[in-house]
Symmetry: C2
Subunit: 339 residues, 2 copies
């Protein structure tokens, strides 16, 4: 292997929105797999809001990315060399390979990509961590019942649009909150949401009153901040708030804003719970089978926002997540080397 | 009935800490019971932090007390006249009779006080709504397991001290948070808490680290504000946060402070849930029997802070709740009229 590797390594803890100089773009010889390892050439990088959290030093559910370490990210690539019994050169695999051209892996957490189920990018979206997060968060933590009202924030985002579609499939009245009329139209016209609220229009309170006249039974929150407070005001009795993310706060330079209306949990005998998809690893096959079936039946629409660019442009593409620019699952497509 | 009635009627919506002028103290002829009603002469008034919330106009779990209405409060009194088949003159009854000398009631929610179980004030404390709130909140919402770490804030207060004692009875490591060394000593020396944290000493974070080295499995919160944020920082995996109250915020003139660290719910796959004791009404007899048994066995210590005073002093006695002055259940004992 004589191709040089390219990597984005964390250079500094960002303050506020990350900037290019928070990483170093470095080149070095591609590594050689040892016994029990594979070498993967990345073709697709999964770009997720959670990556912003991994750049902070704070204690969280995974250790932070260390200064000087390759930026953590999921991705799909082709095995170019295998010294691992479970993998053969040439096959497509999915795993946490990092923001780099070539990754070494011992195979842990690496899954073979079954392209007969869906095109490759879908395996980072609906059939990847994104879809699994929506599936377990909505169904296991939110526990919506048919006829109940489900509100999803960040509803045009990767996880949000899937969570909302699952709610619709389960017979819930589904309301998405997103930024801008185009996203809202996509939710109602293409994905079958019952209603969409454009939070940028500034009428969230009135809109919620109109679209959720009997209150919100399940709130699937990807955003936090003011929207969380607005939805807390409208909780129905025994409501469940699913804390999936808080993208409005990830780049805050002040301490994050807590939900001032949390005492509505008492008033409405409601609960707010966090979860992590990794805890459901044993049930991934069940969920993937179900999601793939819905995809095949046309009940679930998969949308990837695939940006074809050079690895060198990673920071700019990543930051689209925080500018409300992407719809669906943001993926950086690297293409295969030299092509 | 020719005795005049005395009443505290709400005169204004308080801003911040209530003041005497937020009520009117009025005298009028005592009412006459109609068919199906009883007349009760109040002897004990239950003074609770929740009463502050009922003075606000905001939507909550019960309608606010209206301007001009008698201030809402629980109490125990003697039936002086009965035109209701279930009650006889002379018996002691407990109910939401309001802050007044004489109350009319149609018997709804009124229970006969069984003085063979415990002295009268205990029926407003451990055997009343206070004890029931601690019982169902801790056991049904908090679901502590033996050996787990339970933290209670407002631990020297009426509900808090009972919640902590039940946790101890259930074999939990029990940590109370209270204001001042005397309260803390009472918790550890007399009530058998494993540790107590004096939040006024300003070392809550270090104290929690020391006393809950493996994290907090159940947090029974009566206080909200900064303490809630501090405990959220130390949640154990799958922790349960029970929202019982938020006394630190009840008199806030700013919008209440939300828990900025609520994303720890995600990191630790934890939940935060509110509850109201009224929802458990069908199970009150079970809980009262258990609480009475623990009292009789000496496992549970009942402490009432009984202030004997004239009804005219209600505002001053009530405000002790918000000055951290009371230990245990605050009760205003009126005595019987003219004695």
């Amino acid at each position: 292997m004589s191709e040089p590797n390219a990597q984005w390594r964390l250079a500094a803890r960002p303050v506020g929105l990350p900037k290019r100089s928070d990483w170093d773009y470095v080149h070095e010889p591609a590594p050689e797999p040892a016994d029990g390892q594979i070498l993967v050439e990345l073709e697709y990088l999964s770009l997720d809001p959670a990556m912003r959290g991994w750049m902070n030093e704070a204690r969280s559910y995974v250790p932070p990315v260390g200064i000087g370490e390759v930026m953590r990210a999921g991705g799909i690539g082709r095995v170019t060399e295998s010294r691992h019994p479970n993998f053969t050169a040439g096959e497509l695999v999915s795993g946490m390979f990092g923001v780099q051209r070539y990754a070494l892996s011992d195979g842990q957490g690496v899954r073979t990509v079954d392209t007969s189920l869906a095109p490759v990018p879908v395996h980072l979206g609906v059939l990847g961590m994104t879809g699994l997060t929506a599936y377990f968060g909505l169904l296991d933590v939110g526990r919506p019942e048919p006829g109940q009202t489900v509100v999803v924030s960040g509803a045009a985002g990767a996880v949000g649009n899937v969570a909302g579609q699952i709610a619709r499939i389960k017979g819930c009245r589904t309301i998405g909150i997103a930024g801008g009329p185009e996203k809202c139209e996509w939710l109602t016209e293409e994905l079958g949401f019952d209603a969409a609220i454009d939070y940028k229009a500034g009428e969230v309170r009135a809109d919620l009153r109109q679209y959720a006249p009997n209150g919100v039974d399940v709130y699937f929150d990807n955003v936090g901040g003011e929207l969380l407070d607005e939805v807390l005001r409208r909780l129905a009795r025994n409501a469940r708030v699913v804390i999936c993310g808080a993208i409005s706060q990830y780049n805050a330079e002040q301490p994050p804003r807590g939900p001032a209306n949390y005492m509505q949990l008492l008033v409405e005998r409601a609960s707010m719970a966090g979860f992590l998809v990794f805890d459901y690893a044993k049930r991934y096959p069940e969920a993937v089978a179900q999601l793939a079936e819905w995809l095949q039946d046309g009940k679930l629409i998969s949308r990837e926002d695939v940006v074809r660019a050079d690895l060198e442009q990673f920071p700019e593409v990543f930051l689209r997540l925080f500018r409300g620019e992407n719809v669906g699952k943001l993926i950086l497509e690297l293409g295969r080397h030299g092509r």
